[in-house]
């Protein structure tokens, strides 16, 4: 089993890793066509992965219901939502799935009335929690925390029109905080992450990193 579980996957990773990397530097039309084919395959795999995701989701909620695990009632709502939306998409206002999408259909109604409202509401709740957290947790416990606090206040006030009404300096200081210290930190993080990604990719290509194969060794 060793060749199937280890040697072949490592060889494929090496082959496709070097090929996928190298082809980016070839300007021949063949390379462009090949890139297009690879991208197409990737999309097909993406589609199959979606099916796998649906299976996994259904399996998870089915198991929850069967075992009557805590909160299993919510899983019923998953199936309700999943089946109703799927039925609405397949029915497509009486013209069925493969026809052009019908406007003002049941799906549109469900999307507008349920999903848009629920999604916007969920995100809006954040505003309330941020305000609550501001009172409870945002403390100047140290010099660094005080600095962060001051920067946050300046940026928050500087980003809204009332900031310029309070003081004409607010927008300028806010812009400076975003363009200079913020950018320096972000650049450092980005470079670190990119170097890490390159190192990890090379480790995978050359078979040094094998955790993606599963198993303990």
């Amino acid at each position: 089993m060793r060749p199937i579980k280890l040697t072949i996957p490592l060889a494929l990773a090496l082959l496709f890793g070097i090929f996928g990397f190298g082809i980016q530097y070839v300007v021949h039309p063949w390379a462009a066509d090949t890139k297009e084919v690879i991208a197409l395959w990737s999309r097909v795999i993406g589609g199959i992965a979606t099916l796998l995701g649906i299976y996994s989701l259904v399996h998870l909620h089915m198991t929850k219901i069967q075992r009557k695990q805590e909160g299993w009632g919510y899983s019923l709502f998953f199936f309700l939502g999943f089946l109703v939306i799927t039925a609405a998409v397949v029915y497509n206002g009486g013209r069925w799935l493969l026809s052009a999408k019908v406007e003002q259909s049941v799906y549109d109604l469900l999307y507008e009335a349920l999903y848009v409202s629920a999604g916007a509401t969920m995100f809006s709740l954040l505003g309330f929690y941020i305000a609550s957290a501001a009172v409870r947790t945002f403390r100047a416990r140290s010099f660094e925390a005080a600095l962060l606090l001051a920067a946050a206040i300046v940026v928050m006030v500087g980003q809204v029109p009332i900031g310029a009404m309070i003081s004409p300096y607010f927008p300028g200081i806010s812009e400076w905080a975003l363009s200079v210290p913020n950018m320096a930190a972000k650049r450092a993080i980005m470079m670190g992450v990119s170097l890490g990604a390159i190192a990890t990719s090379l480790r995978i290509i050359f078979g040094l990193e094998r955790s993606y194969l599963g198993g303990g060794d």
Partner: protein, 276 residues
């Protein structure tokens, strides 16, 4: 020391009240558009008639409050300028929202002469790895999207007569609630040498300053404030400008909450020290 009114039962109604007041009472505030927003507006303004602009509508209803006003303002400006607008999304749950936004703008009486497939097209959602799909679009837009959102074949659409791939697009704008701008910049803008801008939620704005200052994007429209700036530039007050007073009130309120929380914290600390 605990702030006496720090209970959510007090804070939440205060926040709700401030938002309601801000939305119901229209207080005009001077809005000075930020440079990064002006850059997007001006770039679109100078594009020759008939140029193709790609709008990636990469968000869903959760970020709608911030991103919808700016998306509609940009579509409107493009149609006003007689540009060809191509829309698409990488967010499955944003596909219908994108369609709604295009339809809302195109249905305005002054755009009655604009036709789907000729002046604008909404291609909908495309699954798959972002880098691969963008690469596909860079090589061939029509094989990536053989049909638009309403299943109409794209091959016969006049809008695609001169636009075969990303290389023929004059401007890419990613309106994003997530991490799609990175992929668009790396695999779209940089690789195919297409100028790019990003519209994003306020929280993602600071992340994109690096791209802006590196000139990987030539403009940035961030948050509802960005939308308000854009609407100001178009001289059409919409949801962005309309939401500015509410946002100003909430920002000031949160700053006051932070100050009050810290005053209580230091007073409590001092009392503790006195007690020994």
């Amino acid at each position: 020391m605990r702030v006496p009114w720090s209970d959510p039962r007090v804070i939440f109604p205060l926040v709700a009240g401030a938002i309601a007041l801000g939305l119901l009472v229209h207080v005009k505030q001077p809005i000075e558009p930020q440079e990064s927003v002006v850059a997007v507006h001006d770039y679109i303004q100078q594009l020759p008639k008939g140029s193709a602009v790609l709008l990636a509508v990469d968000f869903d209803p959760q970020a709608m409050a911030e991103l919808r006003p700016m998306t509609e303002a940009i579509i409107e400006q493009c149609l006003d300028q007689d540009l060809h607008v191509v829309g698409m999304t990488f967010w499955p749950l944003g596909a219908q929202l994108g369609y709604d936004m295009f339809k809302t703008v195109a249905d305005e009486p002054r755009f009655r002469d604009k036709e789907a497939g000729r002046d604008y097209v909404y291609l909908g959602y495309k699954p798959g790895d972002l880098s691969q799909v963008i690469t596909n679009m860079g090589e061939n837009l029509l094989t990536t999207f053989p049909q638009d959102y309403r299943n109409r074949p794209t091959g016969t659409m006049p809008i695609f007569r001169d636009v075969k791939s990303l290389r023929n697009v004059k401007y890419i704008i990613d309106l994003a609630a997530g991490s799609t701008p990175d992929a668009w910049i790396i695999f779209g803008g940089d690789k195919y040498n297409v100028p790019m801008a990003v519209g994003c939620t306020a929280i993602s704005g600071p992340d994109l300053y690096v791209r802006l200052k590196n000139h990987q994007i030539n403009g940035l429209v961030a948050g509802l404030r960005g939308a308000a700036d854009y609407e100001t530039l178009l001289q059409k007050a919409g949801l962005g400008v309309g939401g500015m007073f509410a946002q100003s009130l909430i920002h000031v309120m949160i700053v006051l909450f932070v100050i009050a929380g810290n005053v209580a914290f230091f007073v409590g600390k001092r009392r503790q020290r006195r007690r020994g």
